[in-house]
Symmetry: C2
Subunit: 314 residues, 2 copies
């Protein structure tokens, strides 16, 4: 009996991460149909776009799905309204204080999961009475915690500190990682980067190709003075490094980043000037396959990893 | 059947890491006597000191033990001579090219394990015909790889790339971490920081107390331009950060580091001016216990983690 499956009414305790510019209704509905939790990334959607993606998701799956909602998003109230109006079953909140909206959502029957990067934030989320926690390590793509705590270190500490179901995120790309996460004390996993490299992800084809070509050490956490973010080391990343070398201050970094960099890189495929957010696992993935296959493979590998461990006994 | 246990003739596939200033004969013999591989850290020993520690280890245990040998060490030839003269059964090499000394050691019956931080270096170690590989992630204490790849990401990639037994290191402090490592494809684990906080470690009592007091985010990887090293954020660490803020170049960083900082901090207990090398797990450990208890706990937790995973089935 897995309590995350029970809570979310899914078959396998896997969440397909909601990611800016990569996870629209095609990916979310494909994931949900394959028995896990599909998630829409609202951080890159205006309210009317989110509304359309929710409606499409509902048309393409009868199973539960979620919306990922960065709480610092400027159009947050309209997003909340859109979510409630469409009776979205689960919301995954991130980047902000979960206290403010959790009870509003739960009163309307929405389950709330909050993303954290430390024990301290996990405890705060528990105090805010969320239903579950995603604990995300340093190796994850995109925005990231300031302490740089890795998944291996973070998960047992969070599992010891809270009673709630814990979902491990960061550095997981297959069933071996899934078993590792559950061994560390998690109830389930969230995979992001692995689903960016799926047929259904809305990442630009050129971005997907860059992920396939990524070598060891091809990603790095940067812009720690603003919001830490893990990026592929493309020309824009090199520009940031050059700014650091020249002693850039926070305002200069903000000016360099500007607006719309993630859309430019991940959605429009501008590999030179865009931000390409992806996790460390990008260095070790090549196969661009349907979400369903990613999920089936992960579950199968999970079970064979259990067999491997049993054979390795001492 | 565990092939690492077979190779090293130990009961549980655990290596107590050889660490500068922390792992002398007391820790190594206690670890070996408890059924795992105890390791002397030769990186902080002159040849006559190493000789004495090997002799003491042999007097206090009849079981296999190892010496950790940083290959860039200036007195390397005398160390190799000391190791061969004393018939040390296993050598763990790090920080250098394993090609040079592996066959010399193996011809004399010594098993050679090499420490790597990437798939590329793992493959090179395999080409050098070492007997096993330690793959160490970003969360580990002390000196560290340039790619910043975490244990969660590194282990499956290394396990896929080489045939040799793989030992996971970095971020492991209990049996949950051990099961995670084996799930990821490792054959065994190496724990360092966990053994720094043991009764038998030669770390200064004040350093041990600092580890017990460490909070979340208390360690950071720094001095990446020299040799990356993970340190507790003490006043010396803050001095480094200040130097960075003022745009210090490599020569200035080298001058600031100077010589003998690790001894000063870890062995002599100078918490202000010394280097305090420790892994991210320092934030989540408090109990200063005998090595034997660490090992027994880890094995017990490993088996109960298997039970937890089985109960979590879906």
């Amino acid at each position: 009996m897995n309590r995350l499956c029970n809570l979310l009414e899914i078959e396998a305790p896997i969440i397909q991460a909601g990611m800016v510019w990569c996870s629209g209704w095609k990916l979310a509905s494909a994931s949900s149909n394959a028995g896990v939790l599909g998630v829409l990334g609202a951080g890159s959607m205006h309210p009317d776009v989110l509304d359309e993606h929710i409606k499409q998701t509902k048309q393409h799956t009868k199973k539960p799905f979620a919306v990922n909602l960065p709480l610092l998003y400027p159009e947050i109230d309209q997003h909340l309204d859109t979510i409630l109006r469409n009776q979205v079953p689960v919301v995954i909140t991130s980047a902000g204080n979960p206290k403010k909206h959790t009870s509003t959502l739960q009163k309307e029957g929405v389950k709330v999961i909050h993303v954290v990067s430390s024990v301290k934030f996990a405890q705060k989320a528990q105090e805010a009475r969320v239903n579950a926690i995603v604990a995300e390590g340093f190796e994850a793509g995109g925005h990231n915690g300031r302490d740089e705590t890795t998944t291996m270190v973070l998960i047992p500490a969070v599992a010891d500190a809270v009673e709630l179901p814990v979902i491990a995120a960061g550095g997981i790309r297959d069933g071996r990682g899934m078993l590792a996460a559950l061994a560390l004390g998690a109830d389930g996993i969230q995979m992001g980067s692995r689903f960016v490299l799926s047929k259904e992800s809305s990442a630009h084809q050129l971005f997907k190709s860059e992920i396939q070509k990524a070598e060891e050490g091809s990603t790095q956490l940067t812009l720690k003075e603003l919001t830490p973010v893990r990026l592929l080391k493309n020309p824009f990343f090199q520009e940031i490094q050059k700014a650091y070398d020249q002693g850039a201050n926070i305002d200069q970094l903000k000016a360099l980043l500007g607006k719309g960099r993630a859309k430019k890189g991940m959605f429009l495929g501008n590999l030179e000037d865009g931000e390409l957010e992806i996790g460390q696992v990008a260095s070790y993935m090549n196969d661009l396959i349907p979400a369903k296959e990613i999920i089936q493979n992960t579950i199968q590998e999970y079970h064979s990893a259990i067999n491997t461990v049993e054979k390795n006994t001492f």
